[in-house]
């Protein structure tokens, strides 16, 4: 069926002889790629093996002993990193391609076992004592270093998660540990600060051209965390009218992200801004109308939702038209 299409295009002169030969060569040899399948198997194998070993050690910890386990984990980590240092391509501030398929997975295994090692050490022997900030700070620095040095996006995500952990621990070290009794407002401010730091990192990444492809990850986490934290702040003290102040930074941030995303032509971020913005707007309209009219507001409210959603659809279609020339994500 497809061959007929190629033949027709060729006979009409839209395909040159050269291109037509290339295409028919491809259809003659017709290689079947099993890349995805084998990669999944590799990943599955790592998961099964580490899970099985974990349970095995857990069940036999009395006979093995903590030191032996620690030594084993350290051995895995060190040998993984030794391999990566040996095989790595020269360092660059731009995107570096990994030397082979296994490389990324081995680096990942090394990093996970390093974090596990530090965690185990602290849990069993309290090496850092009660200084939890220090215990999370060191692995975080190491993870950021590894992510930049070997250029690994997955480890960058891990580093961002451990940055959150470190900030959460060092803001309220004691209250956080006493399950559930922490001061909510403080947590919200920490979230906002964390999100803004990530957005700032994203800006720096872009501005000084340091591993530019990391920007997406920073931006992705930063936008979600900041928007959700600001909304949480807005809803936290809903009774007081002053909490509407939370929406001011929300709007400012939305405008910044919208223009940044337009410049970058990234539809994912435009969509995020629009949806978060729509949610904030809807809750604000609900509040105002409810405040004035109580339950009579419901018809007007539903019509407002419909009208605003239709408006957003036209907006999306319009933005799409303007950016269409080469929209990627």
């Amino acid at each position: 069926m497809d061959n007929k299409i190629y033949q027709k295009l060729h006979s009409q002169g839209y395909l040159s002889d050269d291109s037509y030969n290339k295409i028919s060569q491809k259809h003659l040899t017709k290689l079947f790629p099993v890349h995805w399948e084998l990669k999944t198997l590799l990943y599955l194998g790592v998961m099964l093996l580490s899970g099985g070993l974990g349970v095995l050690i857990y069940k036999n910890i009395d006979t093995i002993g903590h030191q032996a386990v620690l030594a084993f984990i350290a051995l895995i980590s060190i040998s993984c990193f030794a391999y990566c240092f040996k095989k790595k391509r020269p360092f660059t501030w731009h995107k570096a391609k990994s030397p082979n398929t296994g490389f990324d997975y081995i680096l990942l295994l090394g990093s996970i076992s390093m974090v596990t090692f530090v965690g185990y050490l602290q849990y069993q022997y309290q090496v850092f004592g009660l200084n939890y900030g220090m215990a999370t700070f060191i692995p975080m620095l190491a993870l950021f270093f590894i992510a930049y040095y070997f250029d690994h996006l997955g480890i960058l995500s891990m580093a961002i998660a451990s940055l959150a952990l470190w900030m959460g621990v060092s803001v309220t070290p004691k209250t956080l540990l006493a399950y559930g009794t922490f001061n909510s407002r403080q947590i919200i401010f920490t979230y906002v600060a964390f999100g803004l730091i990530l957005l700032f990192f994203a800006y720096l990444t872009q501005r000084f051209d340091i591993k530019k492809h990391f920007k997406f990850t920073y931006h992705h986490y930063g936008i979600h965390v900041t928007f959700i934290a600001l909304l949480a702040g807005y809803f936290y003290n809903y009774e007081s009218a002053a909490n509407a102040v939370w929406l001011v930074p929300f709007v400012a941030l939305a405008i910044y992200i919208y223009f940044d995303a337009r410049r970058e032509r990234s539809f994912y971020f435009i969509l995020l801004t629009i949806l978060y913005g729509y949610f904030a707007l809807a809750s604000l309209i609900t509040r105002i109308l409810y405040g004035y009219m109580k339950y009579d507001a419901i018809y007007l409210l539903l019509m407002c939702f419909i009208a605003s959603a239709i408006g957003l659809i036209f907006l999306l279609i319009n933005i799409n038209k303007n950016l269409k020339r080469d929209d990627h994500i």
Partner: protein, 394 residues
């Protein structure tokens, strides 16, 4: 039957086909542009992100508009108490869908998907309501399944949508099941075999139809139907499924693990995934191969429900070692392509890759690592904290 402009559909197929050749650098840019200009495609299908946005927004509008109409009709309760009400709303959405698709040339743009699913859900719900209201003593399940099947087949033929195709396929299998169950004791006893025959017929029939030039517009729908048929074919003979269904129908508790002709079902449970994989490799069929790989896991899980040969941790470790060693050997064997197989990455540019999904997934998975400090209380929560609740309230 199909609502879309057939010439554009043909052109779209040609352009999509040539696009893969262009990204693999088999044709030049000039050639691709020239071919694209003489094969115009007038459909409105924006990028994935825009489609998701349009889908969500349209769904919100549909839900809010429905509740507005419900509120307005609330005054006269007798309208809402009858199945005519969802049918009426469903028809409104359907008319809107037809109108928008024709006038704006939407082609799976998000807006039309959302309208299609809303109207299908309302119409299907209305018909089921009618069936329930008529209080048949037997065969009401069958009648419900038949109505859903007819509705979804019609919508699939008209809009070539994957989701309605999947529902239609499921509904047809349900029809076969309920029809055969009407026969009584004999019907229930032979149910697995009937379902196997039905699924096999569906797979081979659609496999053949997929090679026909007439099926061009429905390629994705045929793909999903084939996948569901393969899964049904396996489930119909899976020992666990047959055992539990048997217990349920005969009102036995789950301590009964023996079933008549148990041997046949064990062979089926273990051998069918292997057969899928072998045929997938022989025919170079990605769907068969991947389904087989997933079903191997299902077969192992089924086996473990009934027999405990090894403790779980030793089995996991052994399986991990075997899989790792096996895939390493195959990868190094396929470094240079052999027997028509290759380990090099497929040349089609995958849009998921540009989203860094892998990196995000690793971040998601590893954020649950044992936290440093005393237990889980020290975790910061990775963004699902206070805001999660507030966004649910919408």
């Amino acid at each position: 039957m199909i609502i879309y402009n057939k010439e554009w559909l043909n052109n779209k197929h040609i352009v999509d086909l040539l696009k893969t050749d262009y990204t693999a650098a088999r044709i030049t840019k000039d050639e691709f542009i020239k071919i694209k200009t003489i094969h115009p495609v007038g459909f409105y299908t924006p990028g994935l992100m825009v489609r998701i946005g349009l889908f969500i927004l349209t769904l919100i509008i549909a839900i809010v508009a429905t509740s507005l109409l419900v509120l307005m009709a609330f005054v006269s309760v007798h309208i809402m108490g009858s199945p005519g009400w969802p049918l009426f709303l469903g028809i409104i959405y359907y008319v809107l869908l037809e109108f928008l698709t024709k006038s704006k040339h939407y082609f799976h743009s998000g807006v039309d998907n959302a309208l299609l699913y809303s109207s299908a859900a309302l119409l299907g719900g209305g018909f089921i309501w009618i069936v329930i209201d008529s209080h048949f003593t037997t065969g009401d399940n069958l009648l419900g399944a038949i109505t859903i099947a007819i509705l979804c087949i019609y919508l699939t033929l008209r809009f070539a949508d994957v989701v309605t195709a999947a529902v239609a396929c499921g509904a047809i299998f349900a029809c076969v099941y309920f029809f055969w169950a009407l026969i009584g004791k004999f019907g229930l006893a032979t149910m697995p075999f009937v379902m196997m025959i039905a699924a096999a017929c569906a797979y081979f029939g659609f496999n053949r139809f997929g090679k026909n030039a007439k099926s061009l517009y429905y390629i994705d729908c045929i793909g999903i139907v084939k996948l569901i048929s393969l899964l049904t074919l396996y489930a119909a003979g899976n020992y666990f499924v047959v055992n539990r269904l048997n217990n349920m129908l005969n009102a036995l508790d789950d301590s009964h693990t023996a079933i008549p002709f148990g041997f046949i079902f064990w062979v089926w449970t273990i051998a069918l995934p292997v057969i899928y994989i072998l045929f997938g490799l022989k025919r170079k069929d990605t769907m068969l191969l991947r389904t087989g790989m997933v079903l191997v896991a299902a077969a192992i899980a089924t086996f473990r429900v009934y027999y405990h040969l090894l403790p779980i941790e030793i089995m996991l470790t052994l399986a991990g070692i075997i899989i790792l060693a096996g895939s390493y050997v195959i990868i190094s064997y396929l470094k240079t392509p052999r027997h028509g197989f290759t380990y090099t990455e497929p040349e089609e540019i995958n849009s998921a890759d540009s989203l860094n999904l892998e990196g995000l997934a690793i971040g998601q998975a590893t954020s649950h690592l044992p936290p440093v400090g005393q237990g889980h209380a020290a975790r910061f929560g990775g963004g699902s904290g206070g805001g999660g609740g507030s966004s649910d309230s919408f």
